[in-house]
Symmetry: C3
Subunit: 208 residues, 3 copies
């Protein structure tokens, strides 16, 4: 029986890597927002596609979880890690979609602090993908969660300065409200990466 169960357990590591890979793709699409001729509709469409692909990963993972008796670590932690990776993707997709829906392409450019937040997402996604590859061995995970926590703090600072700029009178009230919605999703994505890292830390501490 054990022969049948081990391979299943291994599938979870693949699901997590696949989800993290989608986050790297999502962050790369978001980085196009800094291009002078960014195509907001195409960015939004491709983020929606990536989000759908990731939903599929999450559902397959949950189905496997529900039909697997022996899991590589606590069921609750697998469930939480999967949901939290999914949350990151949802917030990234929202960023692209809201910028498109609100017609923010009419602005000459997005505030600089938004691009700083996107840089935080790119770095966090990279770190997360690397960590997911080390999850099976449980080695060298501490630098990962320390770095993602540092990145989240950096994102927090960028978010605060972004709001200072939005409220400075540079934009009219309705534009401020639109940009604030986008800012909130960017910050929620950075937060969601930290939640993933906290769960990995919890798992690593239990296993050690």
């Amino acid at each position: 029986m054990r022969f049948n169960l081990r391979p299943r357990a291994d599938e979870f590591y693949d699901f997590f890597k696949e989800a993290a890979d989608n986050l790297v793709k999502g962050a790369a699409i978001l980085s196009e927002l800094s291009l002078p001729d960014a195509d907001h509709q195409s960015i939004s469409d491709r983020l929606v596609d990536t989000e759908h692909a990731n939903d599929d990963v999450t559902h397959r993972m949950l189905r496997t979880l529900n039909s697997t008796f022996v899991t590589p670590f606590d069921r609750e932690d697998i469930y939480q890690l999967g949901s939290q990776l999914d949350d990151v993707m949802d917030h990234m997709e929202a960023v692209g979609n809201l910028i498109y829906l609100y017609g923010l392409s009419k602005l000459p450019s997005l505030p600089r602090e938004m691009h700083e937040l996107i840089e935080v997402l790119i770095a966090s996604a990279d770190q997360t993908l690397q960590a997911m590859s080390r999850l099976k061995s449980m080695r060298d995970l501490e630098p990962y969660w320390i770095e993602v926590n540092r990145l989240e703090n950096e994102g927090d600072r960028a978010y605060r300065m972004l709001l200072v700029r939005l409220f400075s009178g540079e934009y009219d009230a309705l534009t401020v409200m639109k940009l604030k919605e986008v800012a909130d999703e960017l910050e929620a994505a950075a937060d969601a990466f930290e939640h993933v890292a906290n769960t990995v830390e919890t798992i690593a501490v239990k296993e050690s």
Copy 2:
């Protein structure tokens, strides 16, 4: 001893049904907002009453939980299900109260997407009440959580389009802010129904 304990365990199903019944009532009261001569003060007052009645259910449930040794399923899950049903009611009450407090009755009508969100709440409440009646047998619960997840996605779409309308220039900035607060509570109520469904799914998976 077992004779004394079983009946207590049964009480939990009654508490959950009673709470879900309050959510059906709350959603019905909210649906009056679409009437041309809606009485916003009366809607708010009756939602406050329903919320108080539901607080009472939640407190009785928690007291029973704390004094019961054998529970029909994990204590944490009972606690969570009770709190999450309570959360839905809190957000519904906030919708009615904020519309009244902000004097939004002066608007010729609420944005169409708000009524769509209320339709989502009505359908979610219906689904939840039916599911609470099936909780003891644990039968046919999957269609419930699938449907509530679908409804929540529908609510998400309505919420996004509602914000697009709010930021379109149709309303002045302060009215937008008021309507946005109401919109956030509507969306939080739809989300909270999904949290209830996720907990029911967790319970069902553990029991299966």
Copy 3:
């Protein structure tokens, strides 16, 4: 072996008291906002310092938790209590920092309801510090969580009336948005105190 383990277990109570003590300090600093000649920069700076000091407590607690085999109660609950005390501090620091960053010192005074929310935080911090001192004996904790829940309800009411005032036309749209960000952090701090109280209740119920 027991001799070595008990003292470590005791450390957790000290960490919680130290964190609660920081919250009392933070609330006292916030109370200076009601002074006619409040120095917003100094208030912000001292809140940042207190938050850093509290981060240090939280990190030491987590390190001790990860290296301790026998804990006075469930590891998850210790972890949660520590994080939730830390959350309160983060929101308090944000209040002071945002008021300073947004230049709200230019207003003749902050809305009265903000001071009411700060009063709620002062009372909640006091209650929390006293409860942390009783955590080891697990005695007389019920009045604490009842009172913090009551305070949170009071805070909720003050928050709602604060928004009514902000949206009343007394301030221009951008100032409303700034004050709303501050209001949200005040309310989040009151909520976070309730989360601490809920965790203490959970711990007490398990131990009883």
